[in-house]
Amino acid sequence: MRRILANPYAPAFALAVVVVMVPLLVPSPFYLRLATLVFINALVVVGLNLLMGYAGQISLGHAAFFAMGAYASAIGPAHLGLPTLASMLAGIVLTGVVAYGVGKPILRFKGYHLAVATLGLGVIVSIVITNEIAWTGGPDGMQVARLWIGSWRVSGVANWYWVAGITLIVAMLGAANLLSSPTGRALRAIHDSEVAAGVLGIDVARYKLLVFVISAIYAATAGAFLALFDGHVTPVTGGILRSIEFVAMAVLGGLGSILGSVLGAAVLVVLPQALTSFHEFEHAILGAILMVLMIALRRGVIPSLQSWLLRGAA
């Protein structure tokens, strides 16, 4: 038991099983759409968790990167005549570059200052998207051209389910790989104490920046997927509330737990769907569940369950 729980690659394999099983179990394509949205959100949250759970840096602006990936995939084909695949990839790379440029100065901030700085980043991106109507269509958003990979037209729930699911598995393997490398150990040292890590000769700024860029790239990829999957993108994609939702997913699932990120995303994507039968009480109940879960499992769902299981096994 202990060994399975400790294996860094276990979550990715667990998810792989789920990804294969879900299509066999669900009664309608609607559930595949939900699952796809879970994968897309989880992709962002896995990246964010590297930043928050391992490097100990908060971000209230990850929806900005999410939106940059989304809008790059939309704007390239619509305004620049680029193929969708090329715009998507260019958008992801560009977001990484922006994260590098922005991260250098703002990662000098700590705690609530970093929260406000990243919040500012989110606000700025969201305002640009809303106002540059000629490029983005403004608040009503813009259509997104279909994605072609060679002669494969990636459209419809069935296709995107697999694309998002497999990408998420790869991303989780990537995260696990990073964490079991020396970089991962350096990150944990930074999380425990930046000063101590610095004394040990760890280049704190460089590692923080590295994780920030990786998490931005994860977010941009997810954003691109959402835009291409929906075929339409609006500025809500990059709003402050979306950023806060990502953070809530990461904390709910458990900071420092890759599997927790997926679970946190799943809970907050599926819950609103499950609560529609409560009509106007939907939001109150959502808030109440979020509170109760956090109070009961205050280290996040997965870490709390893990320690409970380990206690049971020991």
């Binding site: 608040p139 809500v236 599926v270 769907q273 499950a274 939907e282």
Partner: protein, 379 residues
């Protein structure tokens, strides 16, 4: 562990709740009853619920009861799309009326087009029905029509230099964009376009800047929610000194109450709904408008507004088409929607055709002016 178990139960139960009884006609709806567009979505939802009940109390449609399934997209277009999928795949509705914001409607359209389900949109954007899409119809006025109405009035009053002050939501931005595209046709020059954020509480800085423009004759405010009331008060506060126009987004009783005496003299293009009592008895719309007003005021205790009227028209257009089709079969209903002719609705008199899925013209709007705290017809 209790909350988790409850959660799992809730998730598993969700699909069970949505199964339809055989003798019901399922009509779906996705509205923005929370988020920035809730100002529009909430009256739409109330109207749909009140009228679905009335229709059923009167015996339903073709002998069957209708059942509404309404989802709240929280003003997020990606959520709209998820709920659209749910309506089609899970709930298996035969028709959809909804889509509060233009972006929300546009995100849902492909789902309904692919599934072959008639969709009556409640959003303002002209992009929804231009170009014409096979399964998509919309009763509301377009923003462009509101622009045309304002510009015609400006021209008649010789106020050809105007400036915009607008919010940053979909309604406001779409209106400004469409107004800009037709301003030239009416000989109107747009000298400036100022903007304010979603929850801004003071727009005097923007209005001061506008006021200083040389040669400016009128100011147009495009927005919904609390923005128009604050702009109106701020304009009075700094003594703007030129006519202020609002859009149909401010055509509600709430606007008059929030803006108070500052609204005196403000003009806007509004639906006949707001001035139903002042219409001559010969007006074909008068009865429909008064009926709708009476029904909603009795059921909700709240005054009627433009957006609730859209929902009324959307639902009744669908029901009318179902009755003429003699069935709720999506394809037949769609065909009959397209053959709607001379249907008296709150927005105007609707006549659809294969090349026109909007079906109303500029005469659906009236230029209104606030006089002594009430709406008065100017033309």
């Amino acid at each position: 562990m209790k909350p988790i178990r409850a959660l799992v139960c809730a998730v598993l139960m969700a699909p069970g709740l949505a199964t339809a009884a055989r003798s019901e006609i399922l009509i779906g709806s996705v509205l923005s009853t929370t988020g920035p567009a809730s100002f529009l979505g909430e009256p739409e939802k109330q109207t749909l619920e009140v009228y679905a009940k009335r229709i059923n109390d009167a015996g339903g449609v073709n002998g069957e009861k209708i059942r509404l399934i309404i989802y709240d997209d929280g003003s997020d277009a990606s959520n709209s799309r998820t709920f659209a999928t749910r309506l089609v795949e899970q709930d298996q509705v035969v028709a959809v009326v909804g889509g509060t914001g233009t972006g929300n409607s546009l995100a849902m359209i492909p789902v309904f087009e692919e599934a072959g389900i008639p969709f009556v949109s409640l959003s303002g954007g002209v992009d929804i029905i231009d170009p014409v899409r096979k399964w998509v119809f919309k009763p509301p006025h377009t923003d462009r029509m509101a622009c045309a109405k304002i510009f015609t009035d400006l021209k008649q009053r010789g106020l050809t230099n105007a400036a915009f002050i607008a919010g940053q939501g979909g309604y406001a931005k779409s209106m400004v964009t469409q107004c800009r595209s037709v301003a030239g046709q009416y000989g109107i020059k747009i000298l400036a376009e100022e903007s304010y954020g979603p929850r801004d509480s003071d727009m005097t800085a923007q209005l001061t800047r506008i006021k200083a423009l040389p040669g400016l004759k009128a100011v147009i405010n495009a927005d919904i929610g609390q923005g128009p009331a604050i702009v109106t008060r701020n304009a009075a506060q700094i003594n703007l000194g030129m006519p202020l126009y609002q859009s149909h987004g401010a055509a509600t009783q709430g606007y008059l109450e929030l803006a108070g005496p500052a609204a005196e003299g403000v003009r806007l293009p509004g639906p006949s709904l707001l001035v139903a009592e002042q219409l001559p008895d010969s007006d074909p719309q008068k009865k429909v408008l008064l009926d709708y007003t009476a029904v909603i005021e009795k059921a909700t205790g709240k005054p009627v507004g433009t957006f609730g009227g859209y929902a009324h028209d959307g639902l009744l257009l669908l029901v009318d088409a179902m009755k003429r089709a003699g069935s709720a079969d999506p394809a037949k209903v769609r065909d009959q929607l397209e053959k709607t002719k001379g249907y008296v609705a709150t927005v105007g008199i609707i006549t659809m055709s294969p090349t026109d899925h909007l079906g109303i013209d500029l005469s659906a709007f009236r230029m209104l002016e606030v006089k002594r705290g009430k709406w008065a017809v100017v033309d």
